[in-house]
């Protein structure tokens, strides 16, 4: 790059007066100093020397926007470089202009490499430009911020759907080469081997990546058999430019349009892309996305063991309760039986007394006798005839007798 060409522009007068001008300040410098004051020239010279001696003002890279780029007749440019609050006058010599890799335009955001110097005659410090580079990332960031605001206002960042607890079909939108897809498949398979994984291979960087990623999300949404339960949009780490596809509006729109919940895992922990903001869940990396999407096998096995224990405990308890109920019923039954028995015993005693009172022997004690004829108790006179032999039983003995006469009572 062309270094400064001093005296080329500033000293337009040139000629003999140049010599005079140059001589005068030097002369007055000593005089002035001695006199306790400085001439303007002396002051500017001091400032110039100060600035020239300051290494931090040489080969500085300055970010700003160009304006006032109209070339002078000489071909030199005297643009203004500014940012939101300040500006600095620049000088780009014609020779440098011709060697620049870009042609600066009004409003262009640029990195300017140069040295700060002083234009003594005007008492002005300015930036003597040696190179200019377009600030691409800056433009991208500006676009990014604008897009972020727009999408946020549209509500694209606000929708956060819950993820399925046990996703059996997991869609991956990522490159089919590289570590990211390997890591995700390995983690998904280890944690949740019941899963089925459907990979949609997409380009994850380059000019067509954004469209490709968006299309991948659509394609998974259109898949019916198997229908994904959740989708991971992922990419391994890279520079911010590498990840730029995930900052594109088309990707944001595709994620928002997805009927299937989406988890993003893009780059490293510190990378936030627009896709991350729109996704239902942001994971820091593809691996983390895989971990967040599926339950862990070991945990599930523990849950199963607990469930099994609960089944046994609850059922045993139920049986225990039933048994206890049964025991209580047996006690009641025994009680009832005992009570019933007592009642019956009382009854039996009563009957026994009754029976005892009816015992014919008891009647005999009162002086009655039993007459039997041929072993048959005589309970009617009709059974007896004169001459019959009968047996008479009294309480303490028996007698034999013969009937002499029979008289029947008239029963009224």
């Amino acid at each position: 790059m062309t270094k400064r060409e001093p005296n080329a522009v500033e000293q337009k007068d040139g000629g003999p007066s140049d010599v005079l001008q140059r001589e005068t300040p030097r002369e007055s410098e000593t005089k002035g100093s001695a006199a306790g004051f400085l001439t303007v020239s002396q002051l500017n010279r001091r400032v110039k020397e100060l600035i020239d001696g300051e290494s931090g003002l040489h080969d500085v890279l300055v970010l700003g926007e160009f304006s006032n780029l109209k070339p002078a007749a000489s071909g030199h440019l005297y643009p203004t470089l500014k940012d939101g609050t300040s500006e600095i006058q620049c000088v780009i010599w014609a020779g440098t202009v011709n060697q620049l890799s870009i042609s600066p335009r009004e409003g262009m955001k640029v990195f300017v490499l140069g040295d700060v110097g002083v234009y003594e005659q005007k008492g002005r410090y300015q930036l003597y430009v040696t190179d200019v580079k377009r600030f691409g990332i800056g433009d991208l960031y500006a676009q990014l911020e604008a897009l972020k605001i727009k999408l946020k206002e549209e509500g694209l960042f606000a929708r956060k759907r819950p993820l399925p607890q046990f996703p059996e079909v997991i869609g991956l939108v990522t490159s089919d080469g590289g570590a990211a897809v390997r890591d995700m498949i390995r983690i998904l398979g280890r944690r949740f081997p019941v899963a089925r994984i459907v990979l949609v291979p997409v380009m994850v960087q380059g000019a067509e990546a954004a469209e490709d990623i968006a299309s991948g999300v659509h394609e998974l949404n259109n898949l019916r058999d198997p229908r994904p339960d959740v989708i991971i949009v992922g990419r391994g780490g890279g520079s911010i430019e590498d990840l730029w596809a995930f900052n594109q509006e088309v990707v944001a729109r595709a994620i928002f349009a997805s009927e299937i919940p989406i988890v993003s895992g893009i780059g490293h922990e510190t990378d936030f892309t627009i896709a991350d903001f729109v996704a239902d869940l942001r994971a820091a990396t593809p691996s983390e996305a895989a971990e967040k999407v599926v339950p862990d096998k070991e945990n599930l096995l523990r849950v199963l063991t607990q469930s099994q224990a609960a089944l046994v405990i609850e059922t045993t308890e139920l049986l225990g309760n039933l048994e206890q109920g049964l025991d209580e019923k047996i006690v009641l039954l025994n009680q009832a039986m005992e009570e019933g028995l007592e009642f019956r015993l009382n009854r039996i005693n009563h009957i026994a007394e009754l029976l005892a009172s009816l015992n014919p022997r008891k009647v005999l004690t009162r002086g009655y006798a039993v007459v039997r004829r041929n072993e048959e108790t005589v309970n009617s006179i009709a059974l007896l005839h004169p001459g019959d032999d009968v047996e008479i039983t009294v309480i303490d003995g028996r007698a034999e007798a013969r009937i002499r006469r029979v008289t029947k009572h008239e029963v009224t």
Binding site: P164, Q165, F166, E168, V169, D176, R182, I185, R186, L188, G189, F192, P193, V194, A195, R196, I197, V198, L199, V200, P201, G216, E219, L220, L223, D225, P226, R227, K297, L300, L301, V303, L304, S307, Q308, A310, L311, E314, T315, E317, L318, L319, N321, L322
Partner: protein
């Protein structure tokens, strides 16, 4: 092709893993509420134990199936991870 891996595939069960896990949870809840008649409780117990067994073997015996969408044909092709 069916959606998802079926628990106890090939047998009478047609529940997905998710359905099985949720059913198991429901069964444990029903049993722990303890209001069930014995016959029903025992039926649930048996069903629960069967689900535990099926889910466990699904987790322990399965290997995640990985497919790649052929974006030209729309067909799914088996995708093998290359060993490092």
């Amino acid at each position: 092709m069916t959606t998802g891996r079926k628990v106890g595939a090939g047998k009478e069960s047609v529940m997905s893993f998710e359905e099985s896990m949720k059913r198991l949870e429901d069964i444990v809840t029903s049993l722990s509420e303890g209001e069930l008649p014995l016959r029903q409780a025992l039926t649930l117990y048996e069903e629960g134990m069967k689900l535990v067994k099926e889910c466990r073997s699904a987790l322990e015996d399965s290997k995640a199936k990985v497919e790649k969408l052929n974006r030209l044909t729309g067909e799914l092709e088996l995708f093998e991870l290359k060993n490092e």
